[in-house]
C-alpha cells in the first residue's frame, strides 16, 4: 500500500469521530442540494410541457364567415412563435361542450340555436411561451377585425413562470450556499487534522519532504470524507425512492407526476469527492518551508 494512503487511512481511523461527523454533515448538505435540484428539475419539466397544454382562444364574431376566418388563420400561422392554429366552428364547439358535460347534457335541451361562437385555438412554440410575449400577442389579436374576445390563462401562465423563476433562483442560491458549506466542512476537518499533525509536518519538511508528499495524505483524507458523504446521501436517496416514493406513487396519483431524476443522484459520490478535495487544498494553502 502506498505510504501516503496508509498514513491517510490511519489518520481517518484515529480521528474517526470528527471524520464521521463531517461525513454525515456533508451527506445532509448533499441531500439539501438533491432536494433543490429535484424540485427545480420537476418545475422545469412541467414548464417544458406547458406548450402542449396551454393555448389562446380567440372568439370570432357571428358575422365572420369561414373564408374570413381562414384569412385570419393564414395570417396567424405566418407569425413567428406560433406552433399550431386550429379553427373550431360553432357546431364543433357545441359538440365539445356536449362531450364535456357527459351526464349533464340535459342542460342544453331547449336551446333553439347554438349560442357558442366559432373560435380559433392558437398554440405556441416552447421559446415563445413567456408571459410577456403571450400578452403582447393577445393584445395584437384583439385588434384584428372579426375577433371579438380573446381568452387565455394569463394568471396561470404568470404563476408558473414566477414559480419557476423563484425556485430556480432559490435553488441556485441554496445550492451555492450548501456547496460552500460542504467545502467549508471539508476545509475545517482537514485544517483540524493538519494542526493536530503540525509537529509531524514540520519534521517531514526538515527531512526533505516535498509539498506534494506532505499534502497527499490530507488530500486523500478530504477525498474520502467527501466521497463517503456523497455515498451516504446517495444511499438515503435510493432508500427513500424504494421505500417511500414508489409506495406513494402506487397510491397517490399526484406523486406519479413527480419525476425522480436518477441521473442527477448517481454522481453524488463524485460531487462529494470533488468538494472534499477542494476543501483539502484550501485548508492546506501554500505550504511554506
Amino acid at each position: 500500500m502506498p505510504y501516503s494512503l496508509k498514513i491517510a487511512l490511519q489518520s481517518l481511523w484515529h480521528e474517526k469521530w470528527i471524520n464521521l461527523l463531517s461525513m454525515l454533515t456533508i451527506a445532509m448538505g448533499l441531500l439539501v442540494i438533491t432536494l433543490m435540484v429535484s424540485t427545480v428539475y420537476n418545475i422545469n419539466l412541467f414548464a417544458r410541457k406547458l406548450p402542449e397544454r396551454f393555448f389562446v382562444v380567440a372568439y370570432l364574431g357571428d358575422r365572420v364567415n369561414e373564408k374570413q376566418a381562414q384569412d385570419i388563420i393564414t395570417a396567424l400561422t405566418e407569425r413567428s412563435g406560433i406552433e399550431k392554429v386550429k379553427y373550431v366552428s360553432k357546431a364543433e364547439a357545441l359538440n365539445e361542450l356536449r362531450a364535456s358535460l357527459k351526464d349533464a347534457e340535459y342542460v342544453l335541451e331547449g336551446l333553439n340555436e347554438n349560442p357558442l361562437p366559432a373560435s380559433i385555438e392558437i398554440r405556441f412554440k416552447k421559446e415563445a411561451m413567456g408571459p410577456e410575449s403571450v400578452k403582447a400577442f393577445v393584445n395584437s389579436l384583439k385588434k384584428i377585425e372579426g375577433i371579438e374576445d380573446v381568452q387565455y390563462g394569463e394568471k396561470f401562465l404568470l404563476s408558473i413562470h414566477s414559480l419557476k423563476t423563484a425556485l430556480e433562483t432559490i435553488g441556485l442560491i441554496l445550492t451555492m450556499v450548501t456547496v460552500s458549506g460542504i467545502v467549508f466542512i471539508c476545509y475545517s476537518t482537514v485544517k483540524i487534522l493538519f494542526y493536530r499533525r503540525k509537529e509531524e509536518v514540520e519534521t517531514l519538511k526538515l527531512l526533505g519532504a516535498t509539498r506534494a508528499f506532505i499534502r497527499t495524505p490530507f488530500v486523500i483524507e478530504g477525498a474520502v470524507i467527501g466521497i463517503v458523504g456523497g455515498v451516504l446521501s446517495m444511499l438515503v436517496v435510493i432508500t427513500f425512492y424504494f421505500s417511500v416514493f414508489r409506495q406513494l406513487s402506487a397510491t397517490l396519483p399526484i406523486v406519479r407526476t413527480v419525476v425522480f431524476p436518477g441521473e442527477l443522484f448517481l454522481p453524488l459520490p463524485l460531487i462529494g469527492l470533488f468538494l472534499g478535495i477542494t476543501g483539502s487544498f484550501i485548508a492546506m494553502g501554500r505550504i511554506k518551508f
Binding site: 526538515l206 527531512l207 519532504a209 508528499f213
Partner: protein
C-alpha cells in the same frame, strides 16, 4: 562544502549571529562549540535553510541558500542528515517508521527502506527496539534513534546538535565512533556541542562561538 560569507542573523532586536565567515571542506569533520545561546543551533539552521540570513551569503554543496525556493529546499535537505537537539521523533510511530521517514520522503522502495533502516539501527545498537514507540525508550535510546534517522540514506552532510546530550560516556564514545566511520566514507560532519570531552584530543577543527560571533578556531 559549506561557506558562510559575512553572515548575520537577527531575531527582532537580538543578534543571533554576527558577521560569520566560515568554510567547511568536503569530507571534513569538525565541532562547533560555545556557551548556550551563543548561536550554535542558529548556525546549523542556516545550513539546512530552516532560517535565512539577514545579511551575507551561504552556500551549501551546490546551492546558494538565498536562491532556494519551495522545490529546491527539499532537495537540499535530502542531502543533509540532521540530529535535532529536541529529537523531533513522531510519538505515534514506532522506531522503524521514524527512521524510515528519511527514506520515504525520497520515495525509495519499501524493500530498500527496510534494509537501510535495519542497517542504521544496527549501527546505533538498537536493532531490538525496531517496533518500540519512542515513549517506551530511554532518553539515550531516543537520541540514538534520532542519530539513526540522520545517518540512514548516506547524507552528504551530517549536522548534529548536541548529539550526546542524553548519553552516558560509553554510549557517547560509541556514537562518536559511528560519526567517524560515516566521515571516513566522505560525509561532511558538523557537530554542535558544549561538551569538551567530545572533541578533546581528536585533532579535529573546533569553531568557538561566543556572543553571536565566531571568536576562535582551534584544534582538538
Amino acid at each position: 562544502m559549506i561557506e558562510f560569507q559575512d553572515v548575520s542573523k537577527f531575531y527582532d532586536t537580538v543578534t543571533a549571529l554576527r558577521n560569520i565567515d566560515l568554510s567547511i571542506g568536503k569530507g571534513e569533520m569538525l565541532f562547533l562549540t560555545g556557551p548556550s545561546g551563543a548561536g550554535k543551533s542558529t548556525l546549523l539552521k542556516l545550513i539546512y535553510a530552516a532560517e535565512m540570513p539577514d545579511s551575507g551569503r551561504i552556500s551549501v554543496a551546490t546551492w546558494d541558500t538565498a536562491r532556494l525556493n519551495g522545490s529546491t529546499i527539499p532537495k537540499l535537505r535530502r542531502t543533509i542528515g540532521i540530529v535535532f537537539q529536541d529529537f523531533r521523533l513522531l510519538l505515534n510511530r514506532n522506531v522503524f517508521d521514524n527512521i524510515a521517514l528519511t527514506l520515504r520522503v525520497r520515495r525509495i522502495s519499501e524493500r530498500e527502506v527496510k534494509a537501510q533502516v535495519l542497517d542504521a539501527l544496527r549501527m546505533v545498537n538498537l536493532r531490538h527496539k525496531v517496533d518500540s514507540l519512542p515513549s517506551a525508550l530511554s532518553g539515550g535510546e531516543q537520541q540514538r534513534v534520532v542519530i539513526a534517522r540522520a545517518i540512514v540514506g548516506d547524507p552528504t552532510i551530517l549536522l548534529a546538535d548536541e548529539p550526546t546530550g542524553n548519553l552516558d560516556p560509553d554510549t557517547a564514545a560509541g556514537i562518536m565512533r559511528i560519526f567517524r566511520d560515516i566521515n571516513a566514507k566522505g560525509t561532511t560532519i558538523l557537530i554542535a556541542t558544549h561538551n569538551p570531552t567530545l572533541f578533546k584530543d581528536t585533532g579535529l577543527r573546533i569553531l568557538r562561538l561566543d556572543n553571536a560571533s565566531l571568536v576562535r578556531e582551534e584544534k582538538g
